[in-house]
């Protein structure tokens, strides 16, 4: 017996919807079976809280008198992209401070804006007839600027390769510190709780889907950059390495700094922890089976980040969670990089919002692409010199 999103929303509104997290559904299906769970449960909530570099925010500062057509903008000494209209800018999470280097970046400015703190704005211009001002220095915060919305081109990666290091030297990477000679393995997915691993073929998550983003309600705006649905998949439909991604949008002014945290990876750079939770409507038995996926059923590949060895190794999230895996016959400790504790909190919050009738499901406006075309590679056609 299939359900519609409209019917589920009616139950959410009247407080009668049954909502479980992507961990809770596993036990329910084991106990009651797929058919009964499909009858009784309406929604499964997912969550993830990990470093997501491809994040940032669009800001509109408002006009000064006389006006300025900003063409260079700094926020707490972090450059923001101003190649858009007069007082608009995009601040990327990984952009670094011109004075503090990689200790402080766009992610820190975003975290401070979310927390309601003041940020120094400096801007320069060449001056135009209609916008004669050439320089401005002021302070902004989330209340005295017009718009501040997060627009993250690539978040919520559907699975991600685990990382290790075969060389004799320590490697500092976006996958954390990798110790020499397979000294450790790091991984960064919330496994059975992860949004796109619970709807692996994007049956319910699409463009326009309302989500939990940074503590408020946001939306899926588009497929994320590097969206790669053609990745090798297991029989249950989950990809065996990184595959789908989401571009997401949400009001930074309403976010909670508990779920938006700046991060610095040693000798690599700045990133942003973003909290995302996506509700998965249990439209039919197929969706129940999808969301009942466990860490034992989800696999990822282990990649040597030095690129030296092709390990050809696939492991389950159950193995990664156990604390160690085997590489070439040697026991190697595993460490997570995304917070499962926070992911659980996000899935629970989203569940709470729906139980209170504060969050309704959306029908996707358009589906995410499910094409099999794989990603393009960049050809190197030569070097260039400063003077060119």
């Amino acid at each position: 017996m299939a359900k519609t999103i409209r019917e589920i929303n009616e139950r959410i509104r009247t407080g009668t919807a049954v909502i479980l997290t992507a961990e809770e559904i596993i036990g329910m299906v084991k106990e009651k079976g797929v058919a009964e769970t499909a009858r009784n449960v309406d929604v499964v909530t997912t969550g993830t809280f990990g470093p997501m570099c491809s994040s940032g925010a669009f800001l509109n500062f408002g006009h000064s008198t006389p006006g300025i057509r900003m063409n260079k903008v700094w926020l707490n000494d972090v450059p923001a992209y101003a190649g858009i209209a007069a007082v608009d800018a995009y601040l990327g999470a990984t952009e670094m401070s011109e004075t503090l280097g990689m200790q402080y970046g766009g992610a820190h400015v975003i975290e401070e804006l979310v927390a309601g703190k003041d940020v120094e704005l400096r801007a320069e211009s060449y001056g135009t007839d209609c916008y004669p001002r050439r320089k401005i220095r002021t302070t902004i915060n989330r209340n005295n600027i017009n718009q501040a919305y997060m627009f993250n081109p690539r978040n919520a990666y559907q699975n991600y390769s685990a990382a290790t290091n075969s060389t004799e030297k320590i490697m500092y990477t976006y996958m954390g510190t990798l110790l020499p000679k397979f000294g450790n393995v790091t991984y960064s997915t919330s496994g059975e709780l992860s949004p796109l691993l619970n709807d692996p073929e994007y049956r319910t998550v699409g463009i326009g889907t309302r989500i939990f983003l940074g503590g408020t309600q946001g939306f899926v705006a588009w497929e994320g950059t590097q969206h790669d649905p053609g990745q090798v998949r297991l029989e249950n439909g989950t990809p065996a390495a990184q595959a789908g991604t989401l571009a997401v949008i949400g009001d930074l002014k309403k976010m909670d700094s508990r779920y938006i945290r700046a991060a610095v990876y040693e000798k690599y750079g700045v990133s942003l922890f973003v909290g995302i939770g996506i509700p998965i409507p249990l439209l039919d038995e197929d969706m129940v089976r999808r969301t009942a996926v466990t860490n034992r059923d989800i696999m990822t590949q282990v990649v040597d980040k030095s690129g030296r060895e092709n390990l050809n190794l696939r492991v389950t999230y159950e193995q990664l969670h156990s604390g160690s895996i085997e590489i070439n016959g040697k026991k190697v400790s595993t460490a997570p990089l995304s917070s499962l504790k926070m992911a659980r909190e996000i899935a629970a919050n989203l569940k709470g919002w729906m139980e209170k009738g504060e969050f309704l499901l959306t029908e996707p406006v358009a589906p995410l692409p499910m094409h099999t075309t794989r990603l393009n590679r960049l050809e190197i056609r030569g070097d260039f010199h400063e003077d060119r």
């Binding site: 809280f49 991060a263 990089l337 499962l340 504790k341």
Partner: protein, 134 residues
């Protein structure tokens, strides 16, 4: 009685020196080994809490030095700003002594100070800078 945290660094040719047994027998010290990395072919390190009378400890340190073995006393300690921790687990990737582990119950970070050898690796590996030495 006093306790000091010590790291003892054995050069390759001194790996077999009976340091620990001498500390126990001759200097009446109580030794709690926190971390040991000793093999016959490379420099060995041992990290231990050493408890005993102040004079015995002083004499023992003199003895270790005379035996041609290096030692270092830990004066600093690790500070974990737990309120700001997001429990991501990145620090557990580098901790050499299992002082930092993830609880498999609620996936929160667990810090066992007893096992910490104050190496400082986690202070750099933590992306939120919530670990520091003081």
């Amino acid at each position: 009685m006093k306790t000091v945290k010590l790291s003892i660094i054995y050069p390759v040719n001194k790996i077999t020196a009976p340091i620990v047994s001498t500390l126990i027998k001759k200097y009446n010290l109580e030794i709690n080994i926190l971390h040991a990395d000793i093999s016959l072919t490379k420099v060995g390190t041992l990290v231990a809490d050493i408890t005993g009378a102040e004079s015995d400890i002083a004499a023992a340190l003199q003895y270790i030095g005379d035996a041609g073995v290096e030692y270092r006393i830990f004066t600093s300690k690790l500070i974990w700003d737990e309120k700001r921790c997001v429990h991501c687990g990145a620090c557990t990737a580098v901790c050499p002594s299992d002082a930092l582990t993830m609880s498999h119950e609620d996936w929160s970070l667990q810090f066992n100070r007893e096992k910490c050898v104050v190496c400082g690796l986690c202070t750099k590996a933590c992306p939120l800078s919530v670990m520091s030495l003081a």
